[in-house]
């Protein structure tokens, strides 16, 4: 899987620009659990907010810190990382690594002033569709309460770097 496919774009997440603000959330979902749980939620006709766009990851261990930071720099309002239950990772410890990375990014977001609560990680199994729906609803509610990301382009000027 190429790194490009792991890169979020808020515009893609939002679709057309909405006249009133709605939270834009990216959910990085592990193929073996969260993505399957999201699929199951759909099969069961469970409703969850449309603010979330899913990025299908082979494992949460594939999600590097840069992927999440890139989404925030581009102005995403919140990120959900959804991985397997601890001890249940298809690749043994990918979800444990993802937990450490998300914890570190939460610290960074707090220090930068974006706010740690905009990033959340959950652990669930492929059968836990209700948990997936609750997690999505939870982060949407949290981000809605926090308001738009201060890094949204409508506020300060863009400061993209070059590699």
């Amino acid at each position: 899987m190429s790194d490009d496919r792991m890169t979020a774009t808020p515009a893609a997440a939002a679709g057309a620009a909405a006249p009133t603000w709605e939270p834009q959330i990216i959910a990085f979902c592990c193929n073996y659990c969260a993505y399957a749980a999201a699929d199951l939620a759909g099969s069961q006709r469970r409703q969850y907010p449309v603010n979330v766009r899913i990025i299908h990851a082979p494992c949460t261990g594939k999600i590097e810190m840069e992927h999440i930071l890139d989404a925030f720099l581009k102005g995403i309002d919140g990120v959900l990382v959804a991985g397997c239950l601890e001890g249940g990772c298809h690749f043994l410890e990918g979800n444990l690594r993802a937990r450490k990375r998300t914890d570190r990014i939460r610290e960074m977001l707090e220090e930068i002033g974006v706010g740690a609560d905009r990033l959340k990680m959950v652990n669930l199994s492929a059968a836990m569709a209700p948990t997936f729906v609750e997690s999505v609803q939870g982060i949407v509610d949290t981000v809605r309460a926090l308001g738009p990301s201060p890094l949204r382009d409508s506020r300060p000027p863009e400061s993209e770097g070059k590699e």
Binding site: L73, G113, L151, G161, E163
Partner: protein
């Protein structure tokens, strides 16, 4: 290897305050291995700083380049092109790298992006410990390969202090007593008799105490 740790994002942000075009220079040697200043860490620091600057509403044009080694002029040459169009350089090398780059670019502000710590060993994933102080007169042969100069908090050369236990140093309960390690090691290799010799006061003139040192190897000079 030389072990360093990243500076807080706030400090990085303050370092480059007032500079619009900045070069983040990583180093591909020691600080890459200790996960502090390699290409990946420079990238992550770049994201953090760009976010911080965006929040302040100030523009930042950030260039990121990681070279093989910042402590050799031969490799620093690779920074000449990316550095041509920036206002300041933040070096993510050790203190040696920062100074080497500063010498190479005399008209450019060069800042340290890391806190350089010590010469050490990777004990396990993401844990490093100090092993060598670079005293310039190695005594490891007399102490079974365990350095009392570096690893004994009091730098004792003739046995442990009264605060030693079999487990830990009295200064830091998380640190093993170097003299306990020396005793066990010498016993294991059958050289306990080395402890019967009294070590004279160490000659510290070879160490840092008289200022920065210099090594000249005339057989290799050209």
């Amino acid at each position: 290897m030389i072990v360093a740790s990243p500076k807080p994002i706030t400090e990085l942000r303050e370092l480059i305050a007032g500079h619009e075009k900045v070069l983040f220079a990583g180093c591909g040697t020691c600080v890459t291995v200790c996960l502090a200043g390699g290409e990946r860490e420079v990238g992550i620091a770049g994201y953090a700083v760009r976010m911080a600057r965006k929040l302040e509403g100030e523009a930042l044009e950030l260039t990121q380049v990681t070279i093989e080694r910042q402590c050799e002029n031969e490799f620093i040459k690779d920074l000449a092109e990316p550095a041509a169009d920036v206002d300041a350089i933040v070096s993510f090398g050790c203190g040696v790298g920062v100074q080497a780059i500063a010498e190479r670019f005399p008209d450019m502000p060069v800042y340290a992006g890391l806190d350089t710590q010590f010469m050490g060993l990777l004990e396990e994933q993401a844990i490093w410990t100090e092993k060598c102080l670079g005293c310039g007169d190695c005594v490891l042969a007399e102490y079974g390969g365990i350095c009392p100069v570096t690893r004994c908090a009091k730098r004792l050369l003739n046995g442990p202090c009264g605060g030693s236990t079999e487990e830990a140093c009295e200064v830091d309960p998380d640190r093993p007593c170097a003299w306990q390690l020396i005793y066990t090691r010498l016993k294991n290799i059958g050289q306990l008799d080395r402890l019967e010799e009294v070590a004279p006061p160490k000659d510290w003139s070879t160490s840092w105490h008289a200022g920065a040192r210099k090594v000249v190897r005339k057989e290799h000079r050209v």
